[in-house]
Symmetry: C2
Subunit: 341 residues, 2 copies
């Protein structure tokens, strides 16, 4: 599989992006990577690495999208950005999937324009895999659509279920609607209307999911609008970091604590690994006609490596076809219900 | 100060409510508590306790509001509920403030109807105090208003700043708008419009606050609508519990980990105390004409104790007057700006 990687996106680009690509190639010999961005900068990074026998190409792009560029600005004035060129490679079938740790709004807008959506999909959404007390869950939409309508949320439910079915290998993932309280009638205007639509669809809907239950494994798929999803994701990330820092401070302040910490080292490392976002790599933009994977802006090389591997798996396992099929089933079920009524 | 405590609200009522009231009275001799609810049940709980010389009264209420009762149902059919009777006591000036760990939507609706709002306030909001890496912050609205307009959020900013000024004892609390990314132009329709209004008001506005920065102490006041606020609050709570459970499991799985945990005991206890929600007790409904304090549905006796103490302080320090004054100032500033434009 040929993955086009935006070498310029993310806080530590291009260095960590190049490192991540090499790590992915070392782990999976079926992959090849096209590094997209400033040719000279990329070459300089490659020279620092031992990668002569790996399947790496460079595709030059003269512009870089900044984090505060609006999608409109990027689409109009940065037609030779690393994001745009990477997506163009997928369009031209010179790459099977693309990965970017850059401005996710611009990736979304560009991919929509250049690649288009799967039939029937109103809005593609970011599906992020997160750790739970029991295992993992998919959060959809993790930030692509800040203003949503009930129809969008009901489609996120269908796409999220299809994705979870494949990646968690379970027959019937439990889909919950993120809200305030578990009662059916609770929520805001958006979630109350979305509740009815999801209930009428083909998904295994377990109803409203209170925020406090998001991490305890009650649902395999957590549905919300992109504004709420992004806040839930970022608040969780910030809190996990804060807890780690507070714990470290308490340990450092105590003499017996320091000895204790040495003895706890394995436990703490295991814990860190389970809650480390970079372990889960990239989040796909579900609903696009081709695989586009968003990676965290603060991506480490490990996060980039995992995002490239997710992109490879996305293509090789035909996840788009699965989603397309499930989406069609979900829609048909709803139409049937509508006619019966 | 006389506090009317809804003895029937919360998951462990009335036992923990009665215990919490007694703990508060033992710590603050200026307080007196009116326990509102089923007389027989309350008396049975009081008999278990050593409280003969404490200033406790009972006010019978024959009905209990359930967590899934809608505000409308409660207002129409439960006119003798413990929530309603407690609020009526405040209205009749037989109590100075009320506390409930029950259905917060019903408390809000009943208080609005019976007590009314401060002049100029469109919507009262829940102001929850939460721990940050540096100290604490106020999250407003933590769940009272699930569908908001920009004007509401701008008023939450003013009330939250006034409250933070008093409780944190700082001259100019930093007010942030919870959103996705720090750039001024980022957000959904609601926050983009709210941004402009808050910027034009009298508050010390530091702009958009990304979810990941909520806990790192960048803002003293975090403004959002009640749906987003409730999710941010509950997701944080759920995640903190999940992290604690995961950590415990890792420690228990390792022999050296167990020894380490013994040595870490003090550090872990300090940490637990700093992140324990019950330490911060109740959250006031800011903008009402009288003090009403909401406590967590899962309140322990310590949480109830702290909520009763917050209610006492709210009354004794004249926080309502402070908010009223600041609110007036904030509004005047905005009107001036509007004229200048």
């Amino acid at each position: 599989m040929r993955i086009a990687l935006d070498a310029m996106g993310g806080d530590y680009a291009p260095a960590t992006n190049v490192e991540g690509a090499i790590e992915a190639l070392n782990e999976d010999s079926n992959l090849s990577v096209i590094l997209v961005g400033d040719e000279k900068e990329i070459e300089a990074e490659l020279k620092k690495q031992n990668c002569a026998d790996l399947s790496i190409d460079i595709k030059h792009a003269s512009q870089v999208v900044e984090m505060d560029d609006s999608p409109l600005t990027a689409l109009r004035r940065k037609k030779d950005s690393s994001i745009r060129v990477a997506i163009d490679l997928v369009k031209a079938e010179k790459a099977d999937a693309m990965v970017s740790a850059g401005n996710s709004g611009v990736v979304m807008a560009t991919a929509l324009l250049v690649l288009g959506k799967l039939p029937g999909v109103e809005r593609p959404a970011i599906a992020a895999v997160m750790p739970s007390l029991k295992d993992h869950f998919v959060l959809i939409d993790a930030g692509a659509n800040v203003d949503c309508k009930p129809l969008h949320l009901s489609q996120f439910a269908i796409m999220g279920e299809a994705y979870a079915k494949y990646i968690f290998d379970i027959e019937s993932p439990r889909v919950g609607l993120l809200g305030i309280g578990e009662e059916d009638a609770k929520g805001n205007e958006l979630t109350k209307e979305s509740f009815k639509l999801i209930k009428d669809s083909n998904v295994n809907f377990i109803g409203n999911l209170d925020g406090k239950d998001m991490f305890n494994g009650e649902a395999d798929v957590v549905v919300c609008d992109g504004f709420v999803g992004n806040i839930a994701l970022k608040v969780s990330e910030g809190l996990a970091e804060t807890i780690a820092k507070m714990l470290k401070r308490e340990i450092t302040d105590s003499a017996t604590g320091k000895i204790g910490a040495v003895l706890l080292k394995n436990a703490l490392n295991n814990f860190k690994k389970k809650t480390d976002y970079s372990e889960y790599g990239g989040a796909p933009l579900l609903g696009l006609s081709k695989p586009c994977i968003i990676s965290h802006g603060r991506s480490s090389s490990k996060a980039i490596k995992n995002a490239v591997k997710v992109a490879g798996a996305f293509h090789s396992k035909g996840i788009l076809d699965i989603i397309s099929r499930e989406f069609d089933k979900g829609l048909r079920r709803r139409e049937t219900v509508a006619v019966e009524e």
